[in-house]
Each structure stands twice: as C-alpha cells, then as structure tokens.
Amino acid sequence: MRELVCIVCPIGCRLTIEMKAEGEISVTGNRCPKGDAYGREEMLAPKRVVTAVVRTDSRAFPYIPVRTDKPLPRELIPGLIGDLAQRLVHLPAVCGTVLIEDYRGSGVNVVTTRSLPPAGIPQTGGPGQKAEAEDRITSP
C-alpha cells in the first residue's frame, strides 16, 4: 500500500494506492478521474512533465524555454536533460513548435513554450523601439 500526493492539479489529493491480488490496482482519495489515472501510472510507469531551457543563437534572448507536451517516463529524464544541453535553437521561434518529436520512442514531444524574435531584433509591439546592434551569436 502506498500513500502519495496527486500532482495533476494544485489541489493535491492524498491518494492511497493498493496493489491487490492478480495485479489489480485500487486508487482511493482522488476527487476526479485524472487522479485515478495518475495513481495507477505512478505505480506502474511513473511519468513527469519536464521543463527546461535550451540555448539559442541570440544575445538578447540567449535561452528559450521548452517542455514535454505530455509526462515523460521518469527513467528518460536525465537523458533528455543531457540531450537538450547539446541543442541550439535558431530564432525566430514560435511558441508550441516541436523541437524533438517522439523522444526516444516515448510518444512525447519536446516543444518550445515561448515565441522569440530573430536574433538582432528586440521584441516589441509598439512605437519607436530601435534594434540593438548585432545580437546574433554565430558560434554555438
């Protein structure tokens, strides 16, 4: 029997998970079906959403935040962090662009979570923003 906190939403229901005979799992304490699904998965194949930042070619915005679009099996997380540390994103980027598709066959994509302008042009929406001098970083 295990007690754990559901991490799906901020409420954080306290779940009690029991492994019954014939591999059956019982989840109690959840207020919604998502909690039930989380409890089962946590016992069998725990997963987490991973968020990180990846290097860009811009001086004004040298890093772009990224996330896994779904929870990723925990054992793949250190590998993903290591892989992301090797990457370089060429700006511009639009929020939601896939950076890595189907990471190591997990069915999970890594996507950007921020829109950034091309290197050399600061983000602006309005009047009179002059661009800073050369902002592109050419060597990775």
Partner: protein, 417 residues
C-alpha cells in the same frame, strides 16, 4: 522628450498589466503599457515550469505559455507598448494624470492620461529583511534572482545549495537546480508545516530525495568570499535551540522567504497603502484613494495563482472603462474580522459583482467563512481547509446581499471561525 496622450497608461507588462490593458482596450480606449524589461510577460517568462492556467484557460501551462496567450492578443490590439522603459513618476490630478518614464530609445517620456493602472508586481524579501547572522559572501541569492539567472540568462548560481523557505518558489527552484546538476542539500522551513503545495513537496523534493527540515531556521551563514556553509537550528516551542545546531557545507544559499508588493512609485505618488497587504487601499473598482489610479495583481496584494491575477486585472480594466465613462456606484467599507489577515478590496458595491480575496491568519480544517453587515451574518461558506499561504476567493453578487439602506454604514466584516 516624447509626449503622448492616452486614455489609460498601464505600468508593468506582466500578467496583471497585460490582462488589464486588454480589458481597457476592449472598451475602445487608447492604451499604453510600459515595462523595464525588453520583453512582455513579466515574471512569468522565468517561471518555465507548468501548473499555470487551469482556472483561466482550462489547460496545464508553463509560465511563458500562459503569458503567450496574453502577449499575442496585446501585440494585435493596437496597444502602444514601451519596453526597456522605466517609470520614474506619477503626477497630476484627476482628470489629467502624467506618467513620466525614461528609455534609451526616447529619452524622457511624458505620457498624459486619465487613468493609470499600477501593475508593477512585487519584490522578494531578502537576507537583510530576515536578519540572518553571519558573513556576507557571494553565493546568497533570493530564489527569484537565481531563477532569472538560470532560466533567462543561463547561469548556474552554485553547485551545493541550501534553500531557505518551503514556499512554491523555493520548491520549484529546488527541482530546477537538481535537474541542471546542482545538489540541493536541504530545504529549511521555519514553520511547523511546509508552505508550498503538497504536490510540489512531492514532485520537487520527494522525487529527488531532498530533505525538508520543518521548524528549523538557518541561524548563520559562513564563508568569507563565497558561502562555505550554513548553521541550521531547530525550533523548540518556537524558539531556537542553539545547542542542537548542525552545519551543512554548501556554496549557495537561496532565500524564498516572502514577497513584498513593489509600491515605491505608488508611495511617491501619494497613493495611500494598506498596512495589511502592503499594497494600495482600493475600492470595489480596484481604484485607489487617488482618483484615476487603479491597482491589480501582485502590486495590490501577493497572489498565489496567476489565474486570479489575470481575472483581477481584467475586472480592473473593466472598472477603468466604467470610470472613464463617468460611472459611479454606491460603495461601503469592507474590513477584515476575526482570523482574517487581510481582505481586498477595501470596499464593496452591492449593485455589482464583487470578488473578494482574503488570507487567513490561522491554519484550520472545517472552518467557516462568515460575512456580516452591521453585526448580522448574511452569508457563510464552508472552508474544508484554510491556511495563511492559500488565498481564499469569494464571489458576491447583488443577489447575495441583504437589503441595505443608503444612510447606514453597512460595513461588511469578513471573519473565519
């Protein structure tokens, strides 16, 4: 000098500023927004973790994703955005207010307007504010500064970290540091319970076997030029038991010990502040006692959920529109009663929808929120669990109020039993 006139000027382009500006703009007004950074989105852009947006968008978003939804609207709404600009002063008197700012691109900027929305957010409580004894070496950061250095600028603040404070910011940073290769030796919490969400204790500490010491304080920081360790002391009946102090060798100390609404501009402009929140006193329309100056978001009072910030800011923008149209509404005082640390706003208007945000002084299960006018309880709500770190949100619609006579005080007192 740049001189322009708008209906409204919004100070701060974070979640509050953007949501307020969009709401004002939706009323057909001319709007300008000002921010010190070279990007829109405020503090959300360094909050790269997920967990935002469930109430507002029905989705589990990262901070930047939440911000993007507002940014894309702002950039296509015809709002004038001035980035890399710092507001220096708010002056003038209703109806002609002046926001003075400066920016490299424009020199001094004089923005005339009829309404100002304060949305400057908050700053972090730092080591000096909590008076931790010891030396002053490099390697001591507030959690937010460390988060900025890591997630925006890409620097590692240290390799062996002790976190002071178990609020969500501290917990999130403990996980973040671990994922980038630092070792988090401990989270030290002064209260007898962690102040962050249970889910964050689980996914930020338990996932990585990071020890949490509740009822403990960091009593001293050591190290001459760079931190070399901390002394951790348990509290017994609330007092430090120095005999049981133990030492942790580390090179970095992060502080997540509270947020303070950043109201220096407000103070300078003569906007009266409320003692209990640290933000401006506001009426039912989120307007301060200075006519035409409104406030929303963390500058008004420290929020837990950015979803509430966006909602509050939107209502503030709608109120700005009504104000600019010359509308008025009957209002009465709203005060914090027993076991309530603070309630915002400081007035209610029985003829419109009111959203109250309050904080409890106590930790309690099965509490009751009680609302009284003139000593008579007219509404109560069951609260399964209250604690100071979780803001309580309450809707009061016109139908919820009893009949009120115009010449009575009708002071509404909110209490927790």
């Amino acid at each position: 000098m740049l001189e322009k006139t708008y209906d409204a000027v919004v100070i701060g382009c974070g979640a509050a500023g953007m949501a307020a500006a969009l709401a004002v703009r939706a009323g057909g007004r001319t709007v300008a927004m000002v921010d010190r950074e070279n990007f829109l989105g405020g503090i959300l852009m360094q909050c790269i973790h997920n967990g935002f947006g469930i109430q507002e968008f029905g989705a589990d978003l990262t901070g930047p994703e939440f911000a993007e939804r507002l940014i894309s609207k702002v950039l296509t709404s015809g709002i004038d955005v001035y980035l890399n600009a710092t507001v220096l002063d708010i002056s003038g008197e209703k109806p002609s207010l002046v926001v003075t700012a400066c920016a490299k691109a424009h020199g001094v900027m004089r923005l005339g307007c009829r309404a100002v929305v304060l949305a400057m957010g908050c700053r972090e409580r730092n080591r000096g504010n909590v008076a931790i004894a010891g030396t002053r070496p490099a390697g001591i950061f507030t959690a937010g500064l460390a988060q900025r250095l890591m997630n925006i600028d890409g620097y590692l603040p240290g390799r062996r970290v002790v976190m002071i404070g178990s609020g969500d910011i501290g917990l999130i940073m403990a996980r973040r540091l671990t994922l980038v290769g630092a070792q988090v030796l401990a989270v030290v919490e002064i209260m007898p319970y962690p102040s962050g969400l249970a889910r964050n204790i689980s996914q930020c500490l338990n996932d990585f076997s990071i020890p949490l010491y509740i009822s403990h304080v960091v009593s001293r920081i050591t190290g001459r030029d760079r931190v070399d360790g901390v002394e951790v002391t348990p509290l017994v009946d609330g007092a430090p038991d120095y005999a049981k102090t133990f030492r942790l060798d580390c090179d970095t100390v992060l502080l997540s010990v509270g947020l303070i609404p950043e109201n220096e501009l407000s103070r300078k402009a003569g906007v009266p502040l409320a003692d209990d929140t640290g933000g401006p006193s506001v009426d039912a329309n989120l307007m301060s006692a200075s006519p035409g100056i409104f406030a929303c978001g963390n500058v008004l009072h420290v929020h837990d959920l950015v979803d509430y910030v966006a909602e509050e800011a939107r209502r503030c923008g709608e109120a700005v529109n009504r104000y600019l149209s010359g509308e008025n509404v009957r209002q009465f005082r709203l005060i914090a009663g027993a076991n309530v640390r603070s309630v915002t706003p400081n007035f209610y208007a029985p003829q419109q929808e009111n959203v109250l945000y309050l904080r409890s002084l106590i930790v309690k299960n099965d509490a009751v929120l009680s609302l009284q006018i003139g000593g008579v309880e007219f509404k109560k709500r069951k609260l399964p669990h209250v604690q100071p770190s979780e803001m309580i949100r309450l809707n009061l619609r016109p139908a919820d109020f009893p009949a009120l006579s115009d010449d009575a005080e009708n002071c509404l007192e909110v209490a927790i039993r």
